[in-house]
Structure formats: structure tokens, C-alpha cells
Amino acid sequence: MILTNVTRIDADGRSSTGRHQAGSGTETVDGSGLLLLPGLIDLHAHLREPGFEESETIATGAHAALRGGFTTVCAMPNTQPAMDAPGLVAELTARARVARGARVLPVAAITRGRAGHELADLVELAAAGAVAFSDDGDPVDDARLFRSALEYARGAGRPVFEHSQDRVLSGRGVMHEGAVSADLGLAGLSPAAEETAIARDIAIARATGARLHLQHVSTAAGIDLVRSAKAAGASVTCEVTPHHLALLDEWVAGSRRFAWEPVRGASPPQAPRGVPYDSATKVNPPLRGEADVRALWAGLADGTVDAIATDHAPHASIRKDVEYAEAAFGISGIETALSVLLMAIDARMGELSVVVRALTSGPARVLGLALTDDAIVVDPLREWTVSVEALASRGKNTPLLGRRLRGRVVAAIVDGEVRYADPAWKGARRAEAVAR
């Protein structure tokens, strides 16, 4: 189609308003007030198939991704069985093709069964189509094995995506260790458990010269480590998640305040709040403090952070409708990510151009892949309420349930074909065009 009066932002963050082709076809649609963006790339999503189809499938996840504006998603390998064999990778690719949602890029396991004991067949996995290796969900605890993984991945021409966490230090923690965990009586996850692991991973990456990509960096000191590693020329990249850019540990105590919103009802009796201990806020790395959030945005602004990745982690309600300590970690976030980021931009947390780069050219560089012609159309002013019904993902586990968000993807184009279109938007646009 052809969009008129549309504001197009390219993968380098440059914007221009006018007439732009989006996908194939010559149908003309009034695009005024809309954004035309390159299809977003998510380096980090859990599609749960095979093994956990009650939480998500390749098809539901790939369609949820389109609604969120992501035309390419990297599927994490913590499936059952783990994505540790070439046949599984091929199967995933085949199923994704049939689903006709977002493009799905398989990330294969680093270790056999993700058990952390012996390497998976990394060269063959790469040949079968794995774009990266990761044991995500878990770190590779064994430093020697991690070194081998980096050396092998380098040979295979693939980056290693690492979930950096010192699991001895983090212990049985379930949320960020700080004043909120102290109040709630929940075991804390020390920021140091993430930072020591990042430091270890960077050191090994520098020693081997391999491409290391650090997943979901969530602390200020973690960003500092990446910044100095990059300054020293290490081939290290990193991602941050929308929830770490927007939400704070106080959400576990029932706060519903985005990091950029003012504190309400600070003096007792306190203003009404949400229910504390909402297991939808339980995520690893945990939601952290305001200083950390500011550091993540600063890291985005100065290029320390290469990508924004959703860490979309859908869970069936049975894994979340339990005590906080027992609940699974993870937030279903692929459909809310762009809205939240656009709201943050409105609140001047960061630049639109920076965010678009971190969702397009940034992740493409991490993968070493060329950009496609995929595109999405966004109505930045459209408001919507996050609800169980509004989410296409099987995972309804988001702390944003009930929140009103602004900004909505109205169309997603993959391979020249409109694979998702909001049922209402084009009709209304054509009617307006006629009326004019």
C-alpha cells in the first residue's frame, strides 16, 4: 500500500514525512498522524514450543509479536526438549513458516539439555539455522564450559547470548534486593549477582575474542561494565528490556507508577494502591530502582545498549496463580513493549530515534543480519487498555493488566505482505480520505 502524509522513521532513526510505500500494492491510505517504522526485531522471546504449549506456541507467539510490532523474533531455546539438536531447530523453522506471523529465528542451546554440563553440537546447530546460542533462563555457571562455548560459537560465526547471573549469590531471591524487598519480607536478588556475572562473562569474551551478547542488563553498574568493555574494544553487545526501562521494584508492593511518573500520596494515609505481591511483577532480572532505570536510558542514549529486547516470557496461569515465592519468573511483554516505550519517549526518558534504532538496526547488528523490507504502521495516539482479551499471547502475565497505554500497532508487513492489520484502522482512514 501507499501511505500519504505518514512520518517514516528509518532504521538509523532518521525521520521524513510524506508519501511512502509500505509492502506491496498500490492502494493509497491516509497516513497522517501515523508512524511508519521498519519491522521491529526482538532478540529475546520465549515461544514455549515444544513442551509448554499451554503458555505459548510458535504460532500464537509469532502473531502476538506482530501485534506488538515485531516482525522478527529470536526464539529462546528453553523449550522441552531444549533446542539442542539440529532437527529441533529445523522443526521450529518449519512451524514458524506455516504460522505466517513474525519471522522466527531460532536460538539454540549452548549446552546439551541446557543442563550446563556439556556443549551442544554448536557447529551443526548453526548449520541448521541457529542464529545464536544461549542457555537463557539459566546462565552457564561453569566458567570453563562458558569459555569453550564462546570459542566454539566464534568458530561457528554466531554470538552467544548470555543470561548473566551468579546463582550462588542470588540464592533464593525473588525480587530486587532493596527497601521494597525489606518491607515485603521477600528474599532479595542482589544486583551484585548480576554484575559479577557480567564482569566474568566480559572477561572471558575478551580473552577469547568471541561475540558476547549480554541479555537483559538491568543495573547501573552492569551498564558501566558494558560501557568500559566497549571502550576497551571488546566485541560485547547488550540488550535491555522495556519492563526494566519502565517499571520499578515498588510494583511488587502494589505501585502502578511508571518510572517517569510522579510519586503520588507520599504522606500517610497512603493513596490507594494495587494489590501487593502480584506475581506478574516477578521477573528475572527483577524490576529494579529508579537509579538503575535512569542508567539504562543513559546507556541507550550513548550507544552502550545495542538493543531493546522484550524477554517476552508468557506463562500459563497455573505457573503464576501461586504464592509470590513459588511463581515462575517472567513477563508477557511483546505486545505492550512499543506502547510503553512510546509513552516513555513522550515523558522525555529518551529519543524516538534512539529507541527505533535499538529495535531495528541495533538488534540486526547483534545478529549480523541484513535488514529486511518489513515494516509496521503505528498510531502513536491510539489508547488501549491492557486486558486478558486484548492480548493475543497465551501469556496474560503482565503487571500492566488494567493499565491504559498509548500507541498501538495498526499494521505489520512481513515479506511485502500485510500479515496483521487492525480491523478498524484502514476503513476509517479511507472514509476520512473520501470526506476530504
Binding site: 532493596g178 525489606a182 518491607d183 515485603l184 519480607g185 521477600l186 500517610p268 515465592a325
Partner: protein, 316 residues
């Protein structure tokens, strides 16, 4: 006395006002009188059912609630679950569904997971009283401690109370803080750094709360001390070198207690490890209000059961 109690549940007192706390304490005083009568029973909750759901072993608190419910003529149903039901795959959600089907008016619950009462209160129609959840809160203990201290010291405004021991893992400490601070008291925490929340040691303690690692210094001139139980497994978890050293450095001895103002009382939520966190001479000495806490506990729980009953009726 025109203030009314408008809460549906008692899950924690962290957002309670001074007026609400005082109202409940005043009602507790009225209930204490009932407990002194020849017939310690009034018909206020006749026909009501109080369900005691204890998913963690506790004789003292359960019996206290049971006596309180019976003193108000409520019917009492006891439900205890052990680890075995969880092993069979019974989740808290399953239990909640059973509790809801039983249709009790007031659910008193003890659970090892912090926050579990919020989970339950969100899913049952009756009123919920938290009888202790994980490390988080034990609001009836906080209220009875404040009540006991008020009876001994009068108005608590300007008074300084020391809470000594394993604050990190103590729901009692958190509820004591959440009750004493609104009443105008200040709280000094003392104990090993490993048993103190990091944030509270680093300038992020709640308003009115400070940390003084040296117990002798913390007790100097204090108006009261609440000693906390030390769980023996903390040593196994590597949080302290030995019970012997703990008793030596942080045990409440008569010598230490005498650093407080003359006659300053000693409280302990029980059960005590005599010779570890508290010396027998202190536990059973003239300063000890530990037995008084037990009686006051029944009165405060009566007050809460009574105050929650109308809301429970509407909801049921």
C-alpha cells in the same frame, strides 16, 4: 470514639493510621475485661464461623485465635495443611477454593510465603486475618505488642523501643515497626548485619527506624526492648558463626537490660530460646511482660474478630 473500623481484612498494618491502631487497642482493652469475667464468653459472634487455616506449624497463635473466637461464641473450624498436600499437587489456589466452598465468615491464616494472605484475600468472599506470612507481617502480634507496651508505658509518643535479633526473617519485627511508628514511637534495630535487611542498614530504613549494631549502645536509655526468636537454621545458612557467639554479643542479659530506663519492660513473641537471644533471668524477671503478651494476644484477636464481623457478613 466516633471513629469506625472500615477495613475488610487485616493483612498488615503498614498502611494503618494512628486512629485505627488506637481504636483496635481500645477495643482490645474492652475485650481484656471480658476475659476477666467469671464466664469468659459473650454472644457477639454467635452463628459465625471462624476458619483457622494454618499452613505452617504454630500452636501458640492458633490457640490464641481459637480462644478469642470462642470467647465471642463463634464456631471454629481448624484446617491444617502440611507439606504433604503440596507434594500431592495441591496448590494454595486449590486450598483457597476449598476454603471458599466452606463459607467461613472470617479466615485466619498462617502461611510460610510472604504475601500469601493477599493472594487469598483476593479470592475469597470472607474477611481475612493474617496470622503470620513468611517474613512479612504478623499484624496481630504487632498490635498486641503495642497494646502491651502502651499498658506499661502509657502514650508511646516519643518512646524508643529496641527490637533485637533476627530482623531480616522476622514478620514480628516488621509488624512491630508498622504499629509502633504510627503511634509516635521510634525503633532501634540491633542484631548481626547478616540478619538485618541491607537497605535498612544503608539509610533506607522506614522513617523513625534506625540500626545500631551494638546492642549495649542500642539499649542505653531505651524505653523497652522486644527480643526476637533466633531460628537455629540461620547458623546453617551461614548467616552467623555460632549460637554461642550470638548469645554473647546479642543475647539479652540482665546486665544489658539494665542499661534501659529503670523498669523498662522486655517483650518476646515466643517461643523463646532461653540462653540464646534472651537470658532466663530476664525472660522470667520483673521486667518481663512476656506472659502478659499471651493474655493480651487473645484480647486483641477478639477485638479484630469482632471488628471484622460486620464486613464479613456483608461479603459472605
Amino acid at each position: 470514639m466516633t471513629a469506625a473500623f472500615a477495613r475488610r481484612h487485616v493483612l498488615a498494618t503498614d498502611d494503618w493510621s494512628r486512629d485505627e491502631i488506637e481504636l483496635v487497642m481500645d477495643q482490645g482493652a474492652a475485650m481484656l475485661e471480658v476475659l476477666g469475667r467469671p464466664i469468659r464468653r459473650t454472644p457477639a459472634l454467635r452463628g459465625r464461623t471462624v476458619v483457622l487455616f494454618f499452613a505452617e506449624a504454630s500452636t501458640r497463635t492458633r490457640v490464641s485465635f481459637e480462644l478469642a473466637a470462642k470467647a465471642l461464641s463463634a464456631d471454629v473450624v481448624n484446617i491444617t495443611t502440611s507439606g504433604s498436600s503440596v507434594e500431592k499437587g495441591e496448590t494454595l489456589l486449590d486450598t483457597v477454593r476449598t476454603l471458599q466452598a466452606l463459607g467461613g465468615d472470617i479466615l485466619v491464616m498462617r502461611h510460610s510465603a510472604s504475601g500469601a494472605p493477599y493472594f487469598v484475600a483476593d479470592r475469597v468472599s470472607g474477611a481475612v486475618i493474617n496470622a503470620g506470612d513468611g517474613w512479612h507481617a504478623h499484624p496481630t502480634q504487632g498490635l498486641l505488642d503495642a497494646f502491651t507496651l502502651r499498658a506499661a508505658l502509657g502514650d508511646l509518643a516519643g518512646k524508643r523501643v529496641v527490637i533485637a535479633g533476627d530482623v531480616m526473617h522476622s514478620r514480628v519485627a516488621r509488624s512491630d515497626i508498622h504499629t509502633l511508628i504510627p503511634l509516635g514511637a521510634s525503633v532501634t534495630l540491633s542484631g548481626p548485619p547478616t540478619l538485618m535487611p541491607l537497605a535498612w542498614r544503608c539509610g533506607q530504613a522506614p522513617a523513625g527506624v534506625s540500626y545500631e549494631p551494638d546492642l549495649d549502645r542500642a539499649l542505653e536509655g531505651a524505653d523497652a526492648v522486644i527480643a526476637l526468636r533466633l531460628q537455629r537454621e540461620r547458623q546453617e545458612a551461614g548467616l552467623l558463626p555460632s549460637l554461642r557467639e550470638y548469645a554473647h554479643v546479642w543475647g539479652l542479659t540482665e546486665e544489658r537490660a539494665s542499661r534501659m530506663r529503670p523498669g523498662a519492660p522486655v517483650l518476646h513473641p515466643g517461643p523463646m530460646n532461653e540462653g540464646v537471644e534472651i537470658e532466663a533471668a530476664v525472660a522470667h524477671g520483673a521486667r518481663s511482660l512476656i506472659e502478659r503478651q499471651v493474655t493480651n494476644g487473645v484480647a486483641m484477636r477478639m477485638a479484630l474478630l469482632y471488628l471484622l464481623a460486620p464486613a464479613a457478613e456483608v461479603a459472605a
